[in-house]
Symmetry: C3
Subunit: 154 residues, 3 copies
């Protein structure tokens, strides 16, 4: 066994999971500037067909900040089923399940989303960052968005 | 520390978690043939007292395919709390928590299940496979099945 | 790479996750004495502003036993987003997301909680134990408690 290589992969998996968890944590704490720090400078974020793809960590912070302030009174993003594939030593792709609960500023019924994060991660000089994020949905109830990218169920 | 042995166990844990996640993923994508590939040829699956125990990966594919086509319009199987115990180097038992959401073809209210997967895993020539699967339920709401194996709460 | 140290940290992370999962498992199985065994003798547990902080594993068992018997007919504690930071080799702090479902003895509507466990863990002669536990909530629906510690969303 190439021990060092296998341990490095386990450490990378842990570091990438920490990035995913930090995204959820800072989103739910309403800290859009810390969410944005998890992305590469040129990262793209596609939350769905209704919204234009966001490009760059600065735009990410501004876009998320608006939603966090105007739309949500509280959110909770529970991720699981993290499935990672390394394309090379410094790039990985992942599919992560999301169960998200949302309470709205306007008093609408709480929204629930059963989704997937499709990520591309890159190792940078300051650690693993998100280079691409696409959100898809298996389904939703009372969610504030009427259309979502589908998960592609057969 | 016997480094190689400890690293091997960590890698095995990761590989087994990947099998559990692949089960959920292919189920939710309506890919019963890929679900079945995760089981050993002689595997047994017990989804509950209403249904006969399924034996063998071929039967698993056929049984799941029927449900996926006729019953579910969409599903989302979120697993967590993966608790593994190795019986020997090539066999492990696990209890995994399941929060599953189901949308029905017939328009019934969405069903939710708070369950447990009880697994036995075997290392095979083609990687870790599921040799046994028993589903139990802590509870359910609007679920399409009226009886489930209980979790055995005291 | 200091392989041995890195592997030890990965093993410690696994062991601590197992403690969190054991807490959920024994709680949901109504085994308060096994929940209490996961805590240090002097551990403190703060479930919220309505209840006094519980001190010591014996008090923890007694307090949990009362709730498990009188309040809950069934519970399911799904944890994810486990974020650990090691303060030194033998102490770690963690924030873990909780999605908990509760069915009540008195027939009240099922309660749901989207919370966080804030833990301090200590390595002891008998393995990692919980030395502190504080529960906070992002939100809840039909929960049996009217006030919770907030997550501190900005």
């Amino acid at each position: 066994m190439d021990i060092e290589r296998r341990v490095q992969e386990l450490l990378d998996r842990q570091a990438i999971a920490d990035v995913i968890h930090a995204y959820c944590f800072h989103f739910d704490q309403n800290e859009p500037e810390h969410v944005a720090e998890l992305f590469t400078a040129e990262a793209t974020v596609d939350y769905g067909p209704e919204a234009a793809t966001i490009v760059g960590s600065d735009s990410i912070a501004a876009t998320i900040a608006t939603g966090l302030e105007r739309t949500f009174a509280a959110t909770s993003h529970h991720v699981s089923n993290i499935q990672l594939t390394f394309e090379d030593d410094d790039t990985a792709r992942g599919v992560t399940y999301l169960y998200a609960w949302h309470r709205y500023v306007d008093g609408s019924p709480d929204g629930e989303l059963w989704g997937r994060y499709h990520h591309r991660f890159e190792r940078t000089a300051t650690g693993w960052k998100i280079a691409e994020l696409v959100l898809t949905a298996a389904g939703a109830v009372d969610f504030h968005r009427s259309t979502m990218h589908p998960i592609g169920r057969r």
